[in-house]
Subunit: 149 residues, 10 copies
């Protein structure tokens, strides 16, 4: 009996390690970007029937698990409010140090509103650099203005 998406995520994570799969090739098989696909496999996004069946093949999932992949999950991938993992913490630190800066600059350009985290995409890539390669991340979110009424 599967009673949460988290159980399916554990099955996927376990199968990925056992089979030595890469996120890039999983993404190719599922037909979406590696960013979206990874988030989906880690329990944050909803898969269509065909995507879920494809994932089922890749990870040897049961019919029940495949059904769960098509259910909208309870999102949030971290075990604590302030993340302890150093890589993820650096992102939290960026929000902590630059949060008010980001707010000021988006408001100066667009006025009151937010950058959507729903109508949103992300692209992570390697940027070659003689002083040491860099991680380049491009975030793109629709600007949504506050409405007055």
């Amino acid at each position: 009996m599967i009673s949460s998406r988290e159980q399916v995520t554990q099955m996927i994570v376990s199968a990925k390690v056992s089979k030595g799969l890469k996120w890039a090739s999983i993404a190719e098989a599922i037909g979406q970007s590696k960013e979206w696909t990874t988030a989906a496999c880690l329990g944050q996004m909803t898969l269509t029937k065909s995507q879920a069946e494809k994932a089922g093949e890749l990870f040897d999932l049961s019919e029940e698990a495949i059904a769960w992949l098509q259910i909208v999950p309870y999102k949030g991938s971290l075990p604590t409010a302030v993340p302890t993992d150093p890589l993820i913490y650096r992102w939290y630190e960026i929000v902590s140090v630059y949060g008010t800066t980001i707010k000021e600059l988006i408001h100066e350009e667009f006025g009151d509103g937010i950058m959507s985290a729903i109508d949103f995409s992300m692209d992570i890539e390697r940027e070659a650099d003689p002083k040491g390669d860099r991680v380049k991340v491009v975030l793109s979110g629709k600007f949504l203005p506050y409405k007055s009424y």
Copy 2:
């Protein structure tokens, strides 16, 4: 008597509103990007002597305040661990929802290590889009591998 950088930040924020200044023009006067300049004025970065004096002119700061701008500040710009402001919260949400995805993809590409939040730059710009303009943010941080010893 000034006993913390936060007091200087409040003077700057107050002067900026009174004088109707824009971050873009402040950045131009100081001679750095608008992202770094805003973070610096909001108390997160250390200014050089000439940058601090330029800021002093723009915001009518005292000698004491100008001295404080050249001192490394205690960083962290948010009043609570989980931010309440909707714009900043969306960034926290990205870390919460996509945190494990970002971790997986950087590790798949680079191995164990982190994306630096120190040797780091950020660029925020408007991306025209017929379905509604988008906020495009480019983050670039040096990859730092964990060393074994």
Copy 3:
């Protein structure tokens, strides 16, 4: 020297009590709904120049305070993560008790995505009832679907 919107909110709240003003009549003067106007006066929304000047007259605000009303505020109106005030707590309780229900029903109708709290409006009114009048609140938020990419 005013260094945060919160100081202006305190001036407004103080003036409102001293002068015995009502939110409904303030809203009428400012020309927006009573819901948006109250939120704006309590420091959660950005006023246009003419709205701010109107507010300045109503509450006897200084030029500096009027300038602050036109700056996008750091939002979040409550002093603690779990509110202690019984009226506001009841709303937090609704989120706690019905949160997963709301999630299920919106997803069943619309698929994966959220109800916007930005492109959002609220209407609070008295509903006469022989067994005791009721508070009727209508919330309307645009549905924003998660995009895959």
Copy 4:
């Protein structure tokens, strides 16, 4: 041995996914609104004997599980005080941003007291809109005045 309502909720959630049921049709079978029914199935409300038996048939529950559905549950459906799921968070954000506004307007109309979250109903529906359909939620709670004594 079942020792908490949460175990029954997991059985229901699991059966619902396996059988591909919809909350709307479950509600119809049980004979209550879809909002109340969903909350009840998710462990927040107490079912009568006949409602519980009907639910037992729909979800293939044991006698013991059916008995548990008729016991008043320990309520609260979220795993953290500040919800991490974006859809549910937006509701928490509404409480955070508009909480003091809601308080002010209810008090202006009704005096001191609260809007009941017990003598309470909710209605969630789709509102067609050419700029994008909206989620319309109507909350109705009895006003309960503070008594002095």
Copy 5:
């Protein structure tokens, strides 16, 4: 300038100590029970115009302070979520140790619902006892049943 009820509470508390007043006699002057009156003076209840004026006389309050007493306050009288004061902590302990017991017994007698903390009164009195006098507290709250819909 008074910008919160808390400031008025501090004035009252300060005057009460300076003048050596007793809550029992304050209550008599205001014409309500000592329980309600104390809660009101400590910033938890709303006074009528005549009650507020009476309080103004007793505590030498300004017109502005008297106006604030007639405004519904933001309630919650404790500085921390878990109280540190031993007397108040004992009440928190009662909730912690007996909370589930209270829940079970009220539900067994009344079904699903709550004991109102709004349509509520409290009476605190000394109970003579040869083994040491006791504090007797009688709480009375209307039972409010959950409604199904």
Copy 6:
């Protein structure tokens, strides 16, 4: 192997639902008030040998479980510091709103000290009322004065 009283509480709770027992009749069988008995069965009080054996018969407990009922338990019946269940929350709210009031009135009557939560009893009963029945709770705790030395 039983390694905590909590496991015995779960057995009792499970048996009570399966057998459809009432707290009032369980209390009668055990020979104590329904308040104490319920608290004891929910893992907050220590039973004597004969009480534990009686409970063992009622709930079909093993010898080991009966031994555990006679061991002083680690007390505290709630899963979170601020309770999420609406019925129990109302009690926490009473502590939050009236805590300083209770403190003031007990000190005014008795001087510095506390109302005991150990030499303490509680009585919960239905109070008929034409405007809707009420829950009446009588708490009685010995006053314990602070000693100076």
Copy 7:
């Protein structure tokens, strides 16, 4: 205007440093043990009229401050739930490491109940030891048995 005991504590602490007083001699003047006297001066205990007047002389307090010393204070002397000061933390550590031990041994000797922190005294003294002097602390609290009813 004094509106909390904390303000009086600050006056006392400030005067003690300025005048170079010792707690031992303050206690002698007030006529109580140094443990009780220190706690009282730090805002945790209630002084009698004559004790308060004596303290007023020692610390040059105003009439208003002397009145406050005779009011039962809101107790709790630490700024955070987990203390950061190393000396005080060691006591918290003792509770953390030995808490369950203390519980077991008191229950084994006395049965269910607590050691009173109200009918309680403490004695702190130097214990000469060739391997390094020791701090010896004797705590004595009345055992209070849980009552059944």
Copy 8:
């Protein structure tokens, strides 16, 4: 497979209840004080080989469990930062109310430093008293002065 000392503690606690053992007699068998022995059995101290074997006999432990008793444990015996159990809470309350007093008096006698919680012993005994027996606890910790360098 045993992977933490906590599992061994549960075996010991379970065996102690089943066999009806007393801490005093366990301590005698192991040859240490009842205070140290109880702490050790509850997972806070490291046993020598012979002590562990003796414990193994008393509680019927496996070789693996006996090996674990000789491993330094991760210490800390309480499930929450602020303890909920009334007996243990009273100790936390002593730290909260008397913490600054203890700090002042140890510093007045010894200068800057701490009372060790490592080179530390505790003795818990019954103190007969006609007004009700008392729990007497003697704590003795070496004073460790802060060094300057």
Copy 9:
């Protein structure tokens, strides 16, 4: 099925106790320092294929467990934000007491930036001392300057 590195850490910890291995000899077998090796075995570092296979032999791990050792783990080795174990707490105390000192001195020597916790090594050794041996820990981290842009 293994679904997290934590499960592998438990296997290693369990095997280490059963076999009576020492970290120093494990480190020798794996061919890295004892500091890095211990961190790696406790789930904080990523092993190469040959290191993982060596660890597999030492601890009798399955192929699946050996695969997991080569996956970058979710880091963070402590169960609570403020550690309860006295040895680890002392390190947290050093950060709490000396944190601002460390910050000031590194900035005075190097300017704005951080000491890396990634390009980092640690060496723990015994320092003989007639007054009692000392623990000497040498930490070495690359200085990373903040860049302006």
Copy 10:
């Protein structure tokens, strides 16, 4: 009126910036290491009379402030339990990631006990390195064994 050491720390910090002093030269004047001196000036250590007078000269402090420097302070230099400043956070991260490693290795070498944070010294220096200079920190703390009794 000075009522806490924190106020003196603010005076020192303010004077240090105004006068452009360096910690190294302040330490030389006071005659202690730069690590101890900085900690002392930041309010974590107690100064002797002559050290305090020397500090008084350097920072133009009043007699009252100089007296406060000789009082043992309430220690703990950080505003939040998890530090937000990146430099200090890296140290917290070391404790989080390597905490269990440090524990294991100290116990393997010394047995059960702790590394003292009181009989403790620290040395921070620059380590030249062609790949980028490093921060080298040497911590030395006396090992304190747990005693059994």
